[in-house]
């Protein structure tokens, strides 16, 4: 940047010219003109080479610069914690002094995998996941199909399915808390008023899972519905016309036209809701009303992420929590791959 004589306008032109490079016609043009000018040819060539180099770097580097914020953040908040957690999983943790203790090999993994509470939390995680993700996807597709029709006040209906998603989970849990309270909850008072036995939502393992997945479904169904709806609207209308001409009814059209056409979106939603469903935390944490909040006194609805939180933040065993986090991470990766393989297999077969 020592050449003050360089006209700034030309510099900007080169830098912003997307085709600026050794082969660009503009560059060649300018070089011919430069040869006829009064500056020494050698200096001019140097200047041009530098400029070309700069513009080549610009082409090569700036795209990476543009996308770098994500990767820097991912490195800081995603990759680094992931790797450091893996590292910590092999160490003891000194609870009193808040520092890392000795290297203990696989002890933490051994502890976690033989801890009945962790096994119980895994079973709970899968049970809540199945009770939430499966009905959620089915419901979302059906509602989206209904919304894809020509309705009056379309935008109103479409936006209202998203409403639960806007409500903060904490607020939602407060509302559901008074619905599902064991003694004075709305649902139980209703059941008792028509002469039925009240349901012990916080006591019975499976009922508690149902209540929690109810909250999850309430929140996420609308969100997935909108994604499905967007995909359905991209399906060419001619396909429905020709299907109708072939004599296909509404249901047949849905099964044979809509579903195959939105398959890529299906894969996306299934994978994201699998990952989300295996990491449910807020709902069971706040659903719990015992002072300890460890997923019920008998850990009836403790999910694996809650187990990690309790072990790490509450009980201050960072090594064990890290080991549990890695076990859960590997399980989720495994299931995501499995999901992907199954959906791909299905796609191929029908294609």
């Amino acid at each position: 940047m020592t050449h003050h004589a360089e006209p700034p306008a030309g510099d900007v032109a080169t830098a912003t010219d997307p085709a600026g490079g050794p082969s660009s016609p503009g560059g060649r043009d300018r070089r011919t003109r430069a040869a006829g000018s009064s500056t020494t040819p050698a200096a001019e060539t140097r200047r041009l080479i530098r400029r070309q180099r700069r513009s080549r770097w610009d082409l090569k580097l700036s795209p990476y610069l543009y996308i770098s914020p994500f990767f820097i953040l991912f490195g800081l908040l995603g990759l680094y914690p992931l790797l450091y957690t893996g590292y910590l999983a092999f160490f003891d943790w000194n609870r009193a002094y808040y520092v890392r203790g000795d290297f203990v090999g696989l002890d933490n993994f051994r502890f976690v995998l033989t801890d009945p509470v962790f096994i119980k939390s895994l079973v709970n995680t899968f049970s809540i996941f199945l009770m939430s993700s499966v009905p959620q996807v089915i419901l979302a597709v059906s509602i989206a199909a209904l919304l894809d029709r020509n309705l009056r006040a379309k935008t109103f209906w479409r936006m209202s399915v998203l409403l639960p998603f806007v409500v903060a989970p904490t607020a939602a849990v407060l509302i559901f808390g008074s619905l599902f309270a064991d003694q004075y909850g709305l649902i139980n008072q209703f059941l008792e008023s028509i002469g039925l036995q009240p349901i012990l939502w916080h006591v019975d393992r499976w009922w508690s899972h149902l209540a929690i997945s109810g909250m999850v479904n309430w929140r996420w169904t609308g969100y997935n519905t909108l994604i499905f709806l967007a995909a359905m609207q991209a399906v060419p209308r001619e396909l429905y016309e020709s299907a109708a001409i072939d004599g296909a009814g509404r249901v047949r059209q849905f099964l044979s036209v809509t579903l195959p056409m939105i398959r890529p979106t299906m894969i996306f939603v299934i994978i994201t809701s699998t990952i989300g469903g295996l990491q449910i935390f807020t709902e069971p944490r706040l659903f719990d009303n015992t002072p300890n909040r460890e997923g019920g006194p008998d850990h009836q609805y403790m999910t694996s992420t809650l187990y990690i939180y309790v072990k790490g933040i509450e009980d201050q065993f960072y090594g064990r929590a890290s080991a549990a986090a890695w076990v859960l991470f590997l399980i989720i990766v495994g299931i995501a791959i499995l999901n992907f393989a199954i959906t791909r297999l299905l796609t191929r077969r029908s294609a």
Binding site: I72, G75, Y80, A96, Y97, P116, N289, N292, E294, D315
Partner: protein, 445 residues
């Protein structure tokens, strides 16, 4: 749709630069990870005191409290008198939430306030690892507190790590309207005579539920368990901090509480939605009642009380006395204004200030002089049928004869013990629940 097939072919022409890019990317990620690792690893020694600084213009001394310490007016008073040391308070609603955050901040050794309020149950953990905290002992505060409060914050080397705020001597609060309905005496002196021992208390309960079968005798099995536990000398840990939960005293508390669950308890977990609701639904008749519990009773029952509801306080506690709760103010070594922090903490925990807190929130002082303060002694509580609250709680404080030993794991094990009690509330067999408790305590070590 098969245009994607072209991609690898055209890509192969750039194999050279691409490989280089991959190398570049890999090295960038490595550099980033290493950089972050070393940045985090290079933190200063947390046991070293932070370098002390002057409070600059506009800078404040920070304090974090939880629940209701009743400090708003007092801090205003301090700020007016000390323009150079302005104090700013952050309030967290629940101790359990603050405990988790405090642990996280201690891990990071970053972001701790200058003055940290901690629950009494957490003090043993501090005393067991005192290197992170400032020794606050001074001539000014010597002998300020009840002996047991001061002892709980003192290390074997004689360092005082916290200034006590309040204490929690327990009385029994009762619904005198429900007592009347059940045909029991309602006068607080007569009621006190009927609850001298735990056997008397449970027997009176049996009588009560026979007359009013839809109302439980006490608010939660957990609170009765806590009350009985506060009279056991070594509840979970021996004097040398070895964990011993299979001792006859603890087993006796567990057996007594769980054997009465079915007949006398609401079976609600403390602090739950159902527990809150049971105040207004004639859910129970009595509750172990430290000074600070009165604020909960008022909020949950409603102020003014619903028609017909009459609360009262009996000057008695089954089995003698008991202390439940009471907090401390501490100063972490990470504070850059330790002197000012100590000065402020000493001022706000002084007897005169804590007597004012008692008037506002009912938190009972732990300072010897405040206990003799006429403001405290002569105070009555209108909500509780004009009971002489000051006199009752002073008597209750004097009746405390056992100070349970709390080791560093006390508050963690207490959580697991409460879970065990709650499991029985939910219908688990007491023996099975006890075995689970033993294995969970095992996992804490």
């Amino acid at each position: 749709m098969r245009t994607t097939n072209h991609r690898p072919r055209s890509g192969s022409a750039f194999a050279g630069p691409r490989r280089r890019n991959r190398f570049l990317a890999a090295s960038a990620v490595t550099a980033l990870v290493l950089g972050v690792t070393s940045a985090c690893g290079g933190g200063s020694d947390p046991t070293e005191s932070a370098e002390q600084e002057q409070l600059a213009e506009g800078e404040t001394l920070t304090i974090t409290t939880f629940g209701e310490f009743g400090y708003d007016a007092l801090i205003e008073e301090w700020n007016e008198a000390n323009p150079d040391v302005q104090v700013e308070q952050t309030k967290v609603s629940l101790w359990d939430d603050w405990k988790n955050e405090l642990n996280t901040l201690l891990q990071a050794n970053e972001g701790l306030p200058d003055v940290v309020a901690v629950e009494g149950d957490f003090m043993p953990a501090l005393v067991a690892a005192p290197e992170r905290w400032v020794d606050l002992s001074s001539d000014e505060v010597e002998g300020r507190w009840l002996d047991f409060k001061e002892a709980a914050a003192t290390t074997p080397d004689g360092a005082l790590l916290g200034y006590a705020t309040d204490a929690g001597p327990e009385a029994i609060c009762y619904r005198s309207d429900l007592f009347k309905k059940a045909g029991l005496p309602t006068d607080r002196a007569e009621v006190a005579k009927l609850m001298g021992t735990w056997d008397d208390y449970y027997a009176l309960g049996e009588k009560f539920v026979k007359a009013l079968p839809n109302t439980a005798w006490y608010d939660a099995s957990g609170s009765i368990a806590q009350a009985m536990l506060n009279q056991v000398e070594y509840p979970f840990e021996e004097a040398d901090n070895t964990v011993n939960v299979e001792n006859p005293e603890l087993e006796a508390v567990y057996e007594t509480v769980t054997s009465h669950t079915e007949a006398l308890s609401t079976k609600n977990a403390q602090w739950s939605d159902d527990w809150n609701a049971s105040y207004t639904n004639d859910g129970f008749a009595t509750i172990p009642c430290p000074g600070w519990m009165r604020a909960n009773i008022k909020t949950n029952t409603g102020e003014p009380a619903p028609k017909g509801v009459v609360w009262d306080i009996a000057d008695v506690f089954p089995g003698g006395g008991g202390n439940w709760g009471g907090s401390y103010l501490t100063v972490p070594k990470s504070s850059t204004h330790q002197e000012e922090a100590q000065e402020f903490a000493a001022w706000i925990t002084a007897p005169e200030q804590q007597a004012k807190v008692f008037e506002v929130t009912g938190n009972f002082p732990s300072q010897v002089e405040a206990l003799e303060d006429p403001v405290v002694l002569e105070s009555t509580d209108e909500y509780f049928n004009n009971a002489p609250a000051g006199e009752i709680y002073s008597n209750r404080a004097a009746a405390i004869d056992v100070q349970p030993y709390h080791g560093p794991l006390y508050s963690d094990i207490l959580g697991k013990f409460q879970d065990a009690i709650n499991r029985v509330d939910q219908g688990t067999d007491p023996g099975e629940s006890w075995d689970k408790f033993l294995s969970e305590v095992e996992a804490l070590q």
